[in-house]
Symmetry: C2
Subunit: 249 residues, 2 copies
Amino acid sequence: MLSKNTVKFIKSLHQKKYRIESGKFFVEGGKSVTEVLHSDFLVETVFATEEFKTRNSDLLRAFKGEVFTATPNQLEGLGQYQSNESALAIVQMKENTSFDLSSGEFAIALDNVRDPGNLGTIIRIADWYGIRKLVFSPQTAEFYNPKVIQSSMGSFTRVRFFYEDLTMVFSKWNRPVYGAFLKGENLHQITQIEPGIILMGNESNGISAGLEKWITRRITIPGFGNAESLNVAIATAIICDNLKRLQTP
Amino acid sequence: MLSKNTVKFIKSLHQKKYRIESGKFFVEGGKSVTEVLHSDFLVETVFATEEFKTRNSDLLRAFKGEVFTATPNQLEGLGQYQSNESALAIVQMKENTSFDLSSGEFAIALDNVRDPGNLGTIIRIADWYGIRKLVFSPQTAEFYNPKVIQSSMGSFTRVRFFYEDLTMVFSKWNRPVYGAFLKGENLHQITQIEPGIILMGNESNGISAGLEKWITRRITIPGFGNAESLNVAIATAIICDNLKRLQTP
């Protein structure tokens, strides 16, 4: 059974203010809930249908927190999904740590990417390309926003992220910084790369003027038609795909 | 001034039923409205702020339809944008024509891509890569859905599209059909390609079983991490980027 207070608390987590106050966020949908249970996130409570509980009995037996039974209807009332047939989890936020990157690794830096759907999609792309670290300017969308969690399709459990002043990050950085511009090196013609940070800018304004000077490799996604630009998540995917292609022997 | 009937009519165009009944759809936002005015779509009416009218006076002088003045507040009440500072247009749908493709061209075929945001993003990607034709299964999202128009960022004016039974299309087709699968040719290792149709599947179910047999080139986007899949628009972009790279001397 779900008490009124529980329902009220979970609903409060739709708002950033209450997420920050409590240090908690929620994860919904069967696949994402199983992934967060397998991850190093601390899950406090799981609300699940009988069917989910049966299907994941081993996983739930190993779980130290509380498990409540809920109907699909109740789950839909708690989360943002229009249909959630299986589970929802309350999870503790991780503590902030400082960004660092070893020399063979790529990282993605986001300069004020504001749309939670874009952020979640970029996290999924990073996970696909084996990029384990993302560093966000303070104005970038909130990692724990339910839409970010949802659109990352479980990939939020497999990346590390850091909210930092990007100027501070770059001022201490001496390896490549890749940034997309209209007049840079043609991404299809590059033959040599070194791992580094891939910097992506805001949906409307691109990379801030103050950060441009830190970019050491200006790259261009070649266009063949008439669209003026690409969505930031699409551009991130294409850059990651090309850099990983060039990095792979 | 906007009459009550005009407001009611525009609001009805948020629903597919009334779009089909009237054969009309709406386009909102200054940039998209100027692009549709420059295109071969037949624009019937423009609702615009004084500021938009001044800024686009030449374009509006050449325009044969009616122009009404509206405030930003009125425009926001008409469309789906939370902020529309400039214009909204009522536009006639185009007549259906039959899909055809010349031998040097690529086309994108979508098998039941249901999310309007994905469809609009794919249209923008096609336009970026100079792919001018898209063929959609009947269950694919509706081209004229306001979210499709919005997320295409004006690219809807520069592509041709066809709703067709894809089995019928492929049964008459004798050039390559590219389809993404987990175990296909590694897209980064392909060296030779010929233009053809790029077939992308539904968000949850991928390419329908009935269409698989028409695929002549099974390709795989190489993954380097742990994400199980990529969003369909992201996958489309990566495939287009690689095929265009291979096609370009």
